[in-house]
Amino acid sequence: MPLRRGFQDHFDWPLFVTTAAISVVGVINLYSASSAAGGALRDLYIQQIYWLMLGAGAAVLVAAVDYRHFERYGWVAYGIGITLLVLVFLLAREIRGSQRWIPIGSFSLQPSELMKLFFIVALAKHLHNDPRTEGRTLKDLIIPGLILVFPLMLILAQPDLGTALILVFVFATIMVLTHLKLRSLVTLVVSLAASAPMAWAYLLKDYQRERVTSFLDPEKDILDSGWHAYQAKVAIGSGGLTGKGFLQGTQNQHKFLPDQHSDFPFPVWAEEHGFIGAVVLIMLYLVLVLWGLKIASEAKDRFGAVVAVGVSALIFWQAVINLGMVCGLLPVVGITLPLFSYGGSSVLTIMAGIGLLMNISMRRFHF
């Protein structure tokens, strides 16, 4: 049986090991983060294990089917994603001023997470069918742009700035992969730069603008919008070289870190395991992303290459923005750390993405 042989011969161990390592470390860290919270949040780490197992199952499924089948159903996946995003507005309850989750039984699904993958697949399908040898012009960006715009608008309307931002970054990364003519590139960059102030004035909400200004001048208002960022820095900085020890982080245990499970799990880790622990974790992400790029470079077709770059970019940008934000290099936006933060939809998405990488990796010998 070709599939079995493929699994045995071509199983991508480095991809598996890094993914597993990040997941395990993430669960351990969630245990510490949730132990401080108490109450209902106490068992969060157990739920995360369930999600990881579910995600692993999804990854196996995704890896088992030859990815070229996904190419065929790219538009269908995209359609499903858009439909779910529309459903959000019909079904979701408002939580903290935004609608993001569709309740399913006792769980809730976050379609914007799944959309990230569907979006990558759709974009890959488009580029797969649009090979070029000469440079691309702006005209060639119209269809990819449209593929981006629909989910982007729906996500911004929730509003979920973080996910929208990731979508844009992933899109940009994939487009960097293609060969754009220099003149078109310059026009694009200039017009984007020109529209930035407009976006600042009309697109961002007040609280989002406040986060940016408080990032630029953190001392101004340590106690309100700058509070999260500041306490994260205190947690990381006080960790020192080797950290305060597992479950010994005072910032975490005494609840000075807001959203320890979702947006700020890294400070918990860095506080308790210090610089060494933090570097080990970052190295894992670095290896994972570089490995993803290697898979992309070895992919035998355009679809596989674009999907691999897209998934790597997804992991990379989420990690970089989350890490940059918690250590005060970037303003605070709600972006989770892949596989490390708690979140069912997010774990499922990333795991499925890893499944795609595995799929592409294993099938590079096949044709």
Partner: protein, 629 residues
């Protein structure tokens, strides 16, 4: 699709991977660099911040030392004040109104309290905030019984100062109040913080470092809401650390509150003035009384603006310490100095007589005497306070010799009493007049100086010390207010023996003559204070003075109807008793009282009688007009 064509299709992407990988590596390196900066380079700073986050420090105030008088009666002590502290982050609307209910606040107070709690800035919300000061025992009991329902409320008993004698000796004992922002700048490094009290005047201020003690503190480990977390589930929190406060040291004063009380009693009917009583053999101050005073218990804070205004605008200036800070012309109380100056340098003998026609002419000016004294010698001149005699004496003695002896007896210099702001007074010299009067010195200055007018200024305590020196035959002491420093258990830590400032070299015969004159003042029929003597009581010697007030400038704020009062002379008496074996020296001033013999002298004789003779000697004798049964 053959193998080759697939390869070519992917070729468009090929050269980008390298750059992407490089970008990823660089970005991750930047983040690791940032972590290095935070965790390794700035580690110390963030450790401190993290520690600060979880520690809440509660001050354990030290008990301030107790002040007792010479006989061991408490003049300043501590009583608990129950203060309500709240942690606003733990209080909902319900709790706020519950607190209002328990403290039985009226609607207005309740509203003000709620508004105050709303206005607490976010960063203070998880800390203790002082909500109410000095609640009553009933209010305290009400809160205590509902403690469980009010997790964010703490009642802390803080010692506050209590002064059992209230206004008596207010200037000397002094008071405390809360440090201001300016004080904190001045007192940096001494452990003062917002909300602490510091001695403001009198002994409380001057002996602050002895009385204060050292605050302790309680460090509790808290979470982000300020909730105490002693022994968190994962041993993150160290146990609460408690550093016990060190109580302040007690003071034993030289003051005798009985004598203070006597001074207060004797001052009835006079609105303004002061009394200083000094032990002649030691220089220890037995009474230092300035009228009017203020209740020390209301000065510790919480003085209503109305009451403060009342004190500030009182025409008799309650805030001025009339014993050490205010200076006056000594008037005739200066005459013994003039006499000693003349005798000591052999310029005159005591037996020389001058005729007093009631005035003295110098050029075109006429210097007045109180009345026609006829022929007087030095003793008579002192007893009857004849100005003409001293004018003639001054002509021969000269102003600089007067100044020399005045300074010998401690005038023109601070006595070193060591509390409040002591004035040094002033003793003019020929040079000074030359400099300050257009280089036109004339003899009139000397004549005025000899009778204590002119430009000489003294404080009450200086005069008391001077008369003590006369009484003791020349020993000028440093006035002493604190006898010893004790621990709370009564063990003496430090004792302060009497300190002689200098021995004035005066011939005992001259002193004897002066004393004889001073005795005559009170006990001769001719003496200016004869009416003030206590019949059958302690023999008092001393000198009256009627210090004319030079051209009182009416303060525009003052009522013009009070002008007659401000124009009236200050009434003086300074002396000692018992005359034959002096123990106590006294100086009394009744501001704008009038003649010394009439107003100040009776106060002095009464105080001395109370102190030395055990009260009124005629108390049990029948009145002259008594009906026989």
């Amino acid at each position: 699709m053959n193998l080759l064509s697939v390869r070519r299709e992917v070729g468009e992407f090929k050269k980008r991977y390298k750059w992407m990988a490089l970008f990823v590596i660089v970005t991750m390196t930047i983040i690791m660099g940032r972590l290095f900066q935070l965790q390794i380079l700035q580690n110390d700073r963030w450790m401190v911040e993290a520690e600060k986050n979880i520690t809440k420090v509660v001050r354990l105030p030290a008990t301030r030392g107790i002040i007792r008088d010479h006989k061991g009666r408490v003049v300043a002590q501590n009583r608990p004040s129950y203060n309500v502290y709240v942690t606003p982050s733990l209080l909902g609307d319900e709790q706020l109104s519950a607190i209002g209910e328990l403290l039985s606040l009226d609607a207005d107070q309740k509203q003000r309290f709620v508004r105050r709690m709303e206005n607490v800035p976010a960063r203070r919300r998880s800390h203790f905030v002082l909500a109410f000061n000095d609640i009553t025992r009933d209010q305290y009991a009400a809160i205590e019984t509902h403690r469980r329902e009010l997790p964010g409320v703490n009642v802390v008993a803080t010692p506050v100062r209590a002064y059992p004698f209230k206004t008596l000796g207010a200037h000397t004992i002094g008071f405390l109040n809360e440090v201001s922002a300016d004080d904190l700048k001045r007192l940096t490094g001494l452990g003062y913080g917002a909300g602490h009290s510091v001695g403001r005047s009198g002994i409380e201020r001057a002996w602050e470092s002895y009385l204060r003690g050292k605050d302790g503190e309680l460090r509790v480990v808290v979470d982000v809401q300020g909730q105490e977390l002693d022994g968190s589930p994962h041993r993150v929190a160290q146990r609460a650390v408690r550093e016990e406060p060190v109580p302040g040291l007690d003071l034993r004063l030289t003051l005798d509150m009985d004598m203070m009380r006597a001074a207060e009693r004797a001052f009835r009917g006079h609105p303004s003035g002061g009394v200083a009583v000094v032990d002649i053999k030691t220089g220890r101050v037995r009474a230092l009384y300035s009228k009017p005073g203020y209740d020390l218990n209301e000065m510790g804070g919480g003085l209503s603006p109305m009451r403060a205004k009342e004190i500030l605008e009182n025409p008799f200036r309650p805030l001025i310490d009339k014993t050490t800070y205010e200076t006056y012309f000594p008037g005739s109380t200066f005459k013994p100095i003039s006499a000693i100056a003349a005798l000591q340098d052999g310029i005159m003998t005591s037996s020389v007589e001058y005729k007093c026609p009631g005035y003295y002419e110098l050029g075109k000016r006429r210097f007045r005497c109180s009345h026609v004294h006829g022929d007087v010698d030095m003793r008579d001149a002192i007893t009857q306070s004849c100005n003409v005699y001293f004018y003639k004496l001054a002509e021969q003695v000269g102003i600089d010799r007067l100044a020399l002896y005045a300074r010998e007896f401690g005038l023109g210099q601070k006595t070193g009493v060591g509390i409040n702001t002591e004035a040094s007074g002033f003793v003019p010299t020929r040079d000074w007049y030359a400099k300050n009067h257009n280089n036109r010195y004339h003899l009139g200055f000397t004549l005025n100086t000899a009778i204590g007018q002119g430009d000489t200024r003294v404080t009450l305590i200086q005069l008391a010390m001077m008369y003590a020196a006369i009484a003791s035959g020349g020993a000028l002491y440093v006035p002493q207010l604190v006898e010893r420093v004790e621990q709370a258990d009564g063990v003496t830590v430090e004792e302060f023996p009497p300190r002689v400032r200098r021995h004035i070299n005066v011939d005992p015969a001259h002193i004897a003559l002066i004393k004889e004159g001073l005795l005559g003042v009170v006990n001769d029929r001719e003496g200016t204070a004869y009416d003030a003597r206590v019949q059958g009581g302690v023999m008092v010697a001393g000198k009256t003075g009627t210090a004319e007030v030079s051209k009182h400038k009416l303060n525009p704020r003052d009522d013009p109807r009070r002008e007659w009062y401000y124009r009236r002379a200050h009434s003086w008496f300074a002396g000692f008793a018992p005359a034959d074996n002096p123990e106590l020296a006294i100086a009394v001033i009744v501001e704008h009282g009038g003649q010394g013999g009439k107003y100040a002298a009776p106060i002095a004789t009464q105080v001395l009688q109370d102190a030395l003779g055990g009260g009124d000697p005629n108390k049990n004798k029948p009145l002259l007009i008594s009906k026989k049964p």
